[in-house]
Symmetry: C2
DNA sequence: TAGATTGTTAATCGATTAACAATC
DNA sequence: TAGATTGTTAATCGATTAACAATC
């Protein structure tokens, strides 16, 4: 029996699922076993009708008059997203940023595991960063293929970004998180997400400027 | 003479302006003096008609038959966003992550300046990180008010996040970039942006799972 | 003038939300 | 049964885009 899924699901829906999941994980952590769309709305700043509508794209997971079972909904959303099992990540760059990412506790808790840490500095290769031993960047392709790693995180100096990305693509990595401000290119079957803090600041700056203009006027 | 600006501008428009700005800065860096909406479309993956439509919310900046003057458009977008002058940022946390952010070269290049770095560890206070001297977190409010700092970046351990955010709010900071996985709360007149890499990975994971399901079937 | 490209309209497309019957 | 809340419809709202007259 195959799952019934509508042919096209709006991107906005997919982007909100992780938000719902975060809220649900928090609810479970706090000991709640059920949640209504109204409660989820409170926690996520998403309209309650929209939450129900979004979930309905994938099936009916709630009980009328009762709400949603937190555990069940977590499981269903994780299944939909494909995070019902752990995914391995290759992290490249063992400097300050790489070390910070390697010890970031947000990955493991939510289905991602940093499987290997690479650097091109012979002085760093072999040293430990948290639980990881720094490996030579030359081993990336072999290890990534061996372990079927499809996620990569780039935490190297800007001017090395494209080279690292190219190496990741060659290694079969499909989703890349780029922490450098460099614009990098990848083939069509890969995705890059640039974590550009300035872009976010610029966008909020617009609203801030207007609020201050109003207050000052 | 006041600027003519429509009463309401869609949020999507505001969110795309930084994208256009990045492309234009790159074009200027590469020596181009004019750009058509078709060229910008190529660089940004945004429909050319939409770029023209978006810009038209704020005025008419181009020349028919010619295109947009890169320098002029950069200046106009920076003026619209409020990034035509530099903004000071207070960074809290002088660990690996804080040190990496302090030396991130993407801020200065685009109108943001890390004005001060704070930590609560007496062993770190007074030491240097790049060009900055680590200051005591107790000095945040005084310095932020003195220098009219309205941007804050949180790079501390998760369990200290809310305390730091509270201190930032007290110090008059209005826009906060939270690098911890903790959910933090702020008053209505402040904005928090959580840089949650897992959220982005989860969302791309959905598409990746489907692509692989198709390929495997 | 001929060619190019903007600014803008009007049509399409898609997402959001209020409302409510179904039902736990 | 009465109360609550889902799942879903239908209406609204808003954003995207093709098309083209204006014009450099």
């Amino acid at each position: 029996m195959t799952e019934l899924v509508q042919e096209h699901i709006p991107q906005g829906v997919i982007e909100r699922l992780p938000t719902y999941l975060s809220a649900l994980l928090q609810l479970r952590h706090d000991g709640s076993s059920t949640a209504s769309s109204a409660q989820l709305s409170e926690l996520t700043d998403v309209n309650a009708a929209q939450i129900r509508r979004d979930l309905a794209y994938f099936g009916s997971f709630g009980k009328r008059g009762v709400g949603y079972d937190v555990g069940v909904l977590i499981e269903r959303i994780q299944r939909i997203l494909g995070s019902d099992h752990s995914h391995r990540i290759a992290l490249v760059g063992a400097g300050n940023l790489g070390s910070a990412i390697a010890s970031y506790d947000g990955f493991n808790a939510r289905g991602f595991q940093i499987a290997a840490l690479f650097d091109n500095d012979p002085g760093k290769v072999g040293s430990r960063v948290g639980d990881l031993v720094v490996r030579d960047i030359g081993d990336l392709a072999r290890l990534a293929k061996q372990q079927n790693i499809r996620f990569g995180v780039v935490a190297v100096p800007s001017d090395a970004a494209q080279d690292v990305v190219d190496a990741m693509v060659d290694a079969g990595i499909k989703v890349i998180l780029n922490y450098t401000p460099s614009h990098v290119t990848v083939p069509d079957d890969c995705r890059v997400h640039n974590t550009d803090p300035v872009r976010e600041l610029l966008h909020t700056l617009y609203y801030l400027s207007r609020a201050e203009a109003l207050a000052g006027a």
